[in-house]
């Protein structure tokens, strides 16, 4: 089984604290991600889950591996249905660093099973989430990222 990784980079006109909060605080995440990341304390060893804000359905689960707010957060990541299978877990690292008056957010999603639905899904999802996050933090307006075909 080959594992692969993807790296996503976005420059955002904001502060590291706001970006970190936008990831870990449900009241922000639900506004641009339409999902929320929930953990009791976001400390290493604690579990976290990714929920659809509208339905409350848990899609992704994992554990916090490292947390150094506001510059670094490492979590494990698996589909909720595969929570019991250790092989199903991949890893996501958020790095937040101020550069030239902007903040660079790097999301590294590694240990993904190459060619899996999870790899395809996250590779389509992260650019949308990051674009919406940027828009939300810079203009107050998120992007309609999970928009389905136009309703008639």
């Amino acid at each position: 089984m080959t594992r692969t990784e993807h790296v996503y980079v976005m420059f955002i006109d904001s502060t590291p604290n706001k970006i970190y909060d936008a990831i870990v605080k449900p009241e922000f995440a639900r506004q641009y991600w339409y999902h929320e990341n929930v953990s009791s304390d976001w400390r290493p060893g604690s579990s976290w889950e990714h929920r659809d804000s509208e339905t409350g359905k848990v899609n992704i689960v994992g554990k916090v591996v490292e947390a150094q707010p506001p510059s670094r957060l490492v979590i494990t990541w698996a589909g909720a249905k595969e929570a019991a299978n250790p092989e199903a877990y991949s890893r996501v690292t958020f790095e937040v660093e101020p550069i030239d008056g902007m903040v660079k957010l790097t999301v590294t999603h590694d240990q993904l099973i190459a060619g899996s639905d999870m790899e395809k899904g996250v590779n389509a999802g992260w650019p949308r989430v990051l674009s919406s996050l940027k828009s939300f933090l810079e203009t107050g307006k998120p992007l309609p990222i999970w928009q389905k075909a136009p309703a008639r």
Binding site: E5, V7, V9, M10, W126, P127, S131, P150
Partner: protein
Amino acid sequence: MDAVFKALADPGRRKLLDRLFESPGLTLGQLCEEMDMTRQAVSQHLALLEEANLVSTVWRGREKLHFLNPVPIHEIYDRWVKKFERRSMQALAQLKKRLEGERHD
């Protein structure tokens, strides 16, 4: 966004992005293998792609790994492609409605 369009306006650079799309995390040496270019030219192209944020790099020990960063391409899609797509979707939906309307009304 100018930097992104400029970076994309070269077939060699587009080929590098295609290679990184297929195989994330290649080194400069690995990228040179299948390119009909000098190592120096590949290195310069990569620098330009990195400046445009189309390529991100990660150091693993002494190796510099290159990744296609799809985020700016997604922004171009949002800005330039989606609205045309939406229009053609609407045109199709209208056509469907008209055709079905003729049959059922």
